[in-house]
Amino acid sequence: MKLSVNLPRGLVLKNPIVAASGTFGFGPEYKDLVNIGDLGGVSVKGVSPEPWPGNPPPRVWETTGGLLNSIGLQNHGVEAFCAHDLPFLRDTGTAVIVNIIGHTVEEYQRVAERLAKEPGVSALEVNISCPNIKQGGMSFGHDPDQAYLVTQAVRKGSDLPMMVKLSPNVPSPAVIAEAVQSAGADMISAINTLVGLAIDKERRRPALGGTTGGLSGPAIKPIALRVVYEVAQRVKIPIIGMGGITTASDVVEFLMAGAHAVMVGTVTFQYPRRMQEIVAQLPDELLRWGFSSVQEAVGAALPSKRGGLFDALT
């Protein structure tokens, strides 16, 4: 079965399963355990122009069906990434997606320009969940105008295929999606984590060092599907869906909701080989629901595509 996915600007994924940013390190960490070349792609942990220290620990806390994290985008900066991590990933045969972050519009552009010069980068994923320090710390992803400006700046900085990653912590992610599409984004990735809180009863304080954290894992899957489904009806550009995926069956749901490919995050911590297992099981799972390729399943549950058996009968 044809599993490969063709995306804008010549980006080709050999299959629709991509490691989600922040859960697969900067590349080499999982090399003993995972055959990285078998994955459709790897989105590395967010990379900024200069190193970021991250938040104080504890940085993770388990919740029912989910995981809260407040890593705080710790990374050693784009120069160290290009020198130490990129050479490894470039030789694995997987699509290398670099997740980029910044505190100002200029920082986003700077990191995009730097990566555009580096061989081996397949695409950029613009994480707009960072606090805009010039605008008092509000996240770029929470305002369509800010999201537009960041996207435009990254577009100016690089010709690489570019996806913008949406935050679910806004009333309408689809409005942000429209803004970044009009600013030149080639793709959307969604969703990032949902803001949450846990209490450490023993220490009588919020559990995480960063006070609040981002919720990921199976608990957020219905929200992620809702966002993908809404965004797919509002923009023309392809969507990479994610949020709580743990099985090939989950992947088919995301495809049917309108995603062209998916990212898999939190489940990798418990089962490092789960992404490879999903790749292996996906053909059977697609056939089971009547699809003979990935492409056929994309958007099958959207109102525009339905018109199936039951609609015909009623």
Binding site: P53, P57, P58, R59, E62, I71, F269, Y271
Partner: protein
């Protein structure tokens, strides 16, 4: 080399109330260095990091001694011989053995005690001098591996918070005494963070002080940057170190305690 394994439990014991020791059959895990750990699937979203209490290379066995503190450890403690566990390991760096000519002392609290026992087992006690082991617990019932350390030839000193056995109080007093009488001695410590902070403070200026830390983890293999503690990286700059891959064993001069 890190492995993803399915390994059988071959023996189960209850060495203290609320504690269970599980023996696992695994040639891969039996190559571990004392201080290394494994990440075990239980229930919930994440694996549980547990150190090795015994490493038996000859018989391809390891053991884990765990205290029941929550759902994951409760599930593990309820497993019986014959059960297969989903284990990732060996993880982390492990202890460096003591310098041949130097005296050494081990300081353990709670479930920090088991990896120190694995260390003495691996290195033996026929070193410069017999090692002293200082064990601390809230109550005598919670002391772990006392007879086992004695059987290996260690000098064992005990402290309990409530005075039910050994000196009343923390491990600090016996450690101060040992440090006074062993000016060039090395210390290996594992236990609650406040205990490690006081070991670091009391041994300031010495070399060869090794501390094994705990932190909440995500991936266990260095990818997620969840398990960090403040310290000095290779560049010497203050920042965050990963307990799972830079540790769990650190030289005391690498760490910053608040």
């Amino acid at each position: 080399m890190i492995h993803l394994l399915r390994v059988p439990i071959i023996r189960r014991e209850e060495p203290a109330p609320g504690h269970v020791e599980l023996w696992l059959q695994s040639p891969e895990l039996a190559t571990s260095t004392p201080g290394q750990f494994a990440d075990v699937v239980t229930e919930g979203m994440l694996r549980r990091p547990i150190s090795f209490s015994r490493i038996d290379r000859a018989n391809h066995q390891v053991a884990m001694l765990l205290q029941v503190v929550g759902d994951g450890t409760r599930w593990l403690a309820a497993q019986r011989p014959g059960t297969m566990l989903d284990v990732m390991g060996p993880l982390g760096n492990g202890f460096l053995p003591p310098a041949p000519a130097r005296d050494w002392c081990l300081v353990g609290g709670g479930v920090g005690i088991p990896p120190l026992y694995a260390a003495v087992q691996a290195w033996g006690t026929h070193t410069a001098s017999r090692p002293t082991v200082i064990l601390g617990a809230r109550d005598q019932q919670l002391l772990l591996l006392v007879d086992e350390f004695q059987a290996l030839g260690c000098v064992v000193e005990i402290t309990t918070d409530n005075g039910t056995r050994g000196r009343r109080g923390t491990v600090e007093a016996p450690l101060c005494d040992w440090l006074d009488s062993h000016p060039d001695g090395q210390v290996y410590a594992c236990g609650p963070t406040p205990m490690l902070a006081s070991v670091a403070r009391l041994t300031q200026g010495r070399t060869g002080i090794f501390l094994a830390l705990e932190q909440r983890m995500g991936c266990g293999i260095g990818a997620c940057l969840a398990c960090v503690i403040p310290g000095y990286g290779v560049s010497g700059q203050a920042g965050y170190l990963r307990v799972c891959t830079d540790g769990p064993v650190f030289r005391s001069e690498e760490l910053i305690f608040e």
